[in-house]
Symmetry: C2
Subunit: 269 residues, 2 copies
């Protein structure tokens, strides 16, 4: 668990990010839970960035402000960033951190990041960005939309972070962890899962503004299309922590040969 | 190619979206290229939305304004939307279109969406959103950052759209197409590829504003880490159109068993 890459054993450097913003209770719980596991450094968005997906800020500059952040053992270096979760990780790794981190953790998100919701998740995108940069990363989410006790989720996060620091992750792979909203003694265990097939059955509420112009609010109902029994949704429903190894290579490798058999020769000139 | 799901043969309904905005030359070229292939309907962001990834608008309402849009054969119904590419697809499918579309095409993007850049791409996210909604979808990008002739890319887009309308795509799979910036008679052909391993070697330019506060501009150099020969980057470099089948199931299925062998039993209570 010690970092000897510089010839000296130092505590691992752990970057903590999220998408709910630096003042969210989930990131405070995550930092507190990891207290003592290494050198902690918090770089998180100044404001809530939910559902930003893997957005990055390329047309505007990004700002970082030092932020007062403490864990039980004392003060932790922290910055509040005027950007997305992916921006935070890029800026932290390239500018703010004293050296390359050994681990990036993101969360604890308020609300699940299971099934197709992974695609929209800023929490997951922070971890994905770290993985793209070649750094081991884990995203943590508490499966409760409002409130809840982040302390049991924090314990799970520490347990998983310890294992990842000890074992390391395969290149290009990160972990997406969802934690059921249960007291510690009611969490049934940890399961390795796959992302459930699902979709949102959306509807937009159409309204008319005082100037008689229509506008739309996105609403919708989440639908689980998967009855496999081994998915992230199944684990949560049965009181287990769901750990899904995910990747940012989106290639559908299993379909390459089938597509090669299409008629691609007659490209129009 | 006819839609007989309603018992009557009707022209396929094709939704056209992008991330460069409804006034971008690439979407005009795409619509013109598909003229006559079916009933076209354009729903695109009011302003440029590059690098928004799979962001969706959940905290604000979305607006849609009718937009004058024409192709060689005449006027096409079109809306300009105050949201992200994924918002456009959701709103189009749920509110604006007369029926469920047979195909969603996105682009033609100004600039490549190859390798790791797929993750950040608004162009690809529009197609991904359609695929999540169960609709066949293709993203098109011209591998040139500024200007260029979109007409050859348009011909390729039509050729591929015809094939997808005829054959259909497997569930959960969409196509990410990148087109080299070449005249039609110099395009070498079409290749089925995989997403290259790559990364951005980022650096931030730190500057100081007139009030002595620092701010950062994201810059960086793209690095191809892949020498496989069968990637999207290879195809483009050799003058081929790159067609990569991609998926939004991010599960690293090939690693599930290895992760199950970790010690997950001692969840802390």
């Amino acid at each position: 668990m010690s970092d000897t890459r510089n010839g000296a054993a130092t505590a691992p450097l752990i970057l903590i990010c999220n998408d709910d913003g630096i003042t969210a209770p989930g990131i405070a719980a995550l930092a507190a839970a990891l207290d003592g596991l290494g050198e902690l450094f918090v770089v998180a968005p100044a404001s809530e960035q939910s559902a930003v997906g893997h957005a990055i800020t390329v047309r505007d500059p990004v700002r970082a402000h030092p932020w007062a952040f403490s864990v039980p053992s004392g003060e932790v270096r922290a910055y509040s960033v005027s950007g997305t979760p992916a921006d935070c990780v890029k800026l932290a790794v390239n500018q703010l951190l004293p050296r390359r981190p050994d681990l990036v953790v993101s969360g604890i998100n308020q609300g699940p990041n299971t099934a197709v919701n992974i695609i929209y998740s800023g929490t997951v995108s922070a971890a994905t960005e770290a993985s793209i940069l070649g750094i081991d990363a884990v995203a943590f989410s508490l499966c409760q939309w409002q409130g809840g006790d982040f302390e049991p989720a924090g314990r799970v996060a520490r347990f998983i972070a310890e294992q990842v620091l000890r074992r390391g992750l395969p290149p290009g792979i990160l972990l997406n962890v969802n934690i059921p909203p249960l007291p510690s003694d009611q969490i049934a265990g940890i399961r390795i899962t796959r992302q459930a097939r699902s979709r949102w059955e959306e509807s937009f509420h159409e309204r008319v503004d005082p100037f008689n112009r229509p506008y739309y609010w996105l609403t919708g109902q989440f639908v689980n299309l998967d009855d496999g029994g081994d998915t992230d949704l199944d684990a949560i429903e049965e009181g287990y922590v769901s750990v899904t190894p995910i990747q940012y290579d989106l290639t559908a490798h299993q379909h390459l040969d089938a597509f090669r058999s299409w008629s691609w020769d007659a490209v129009p000139e």
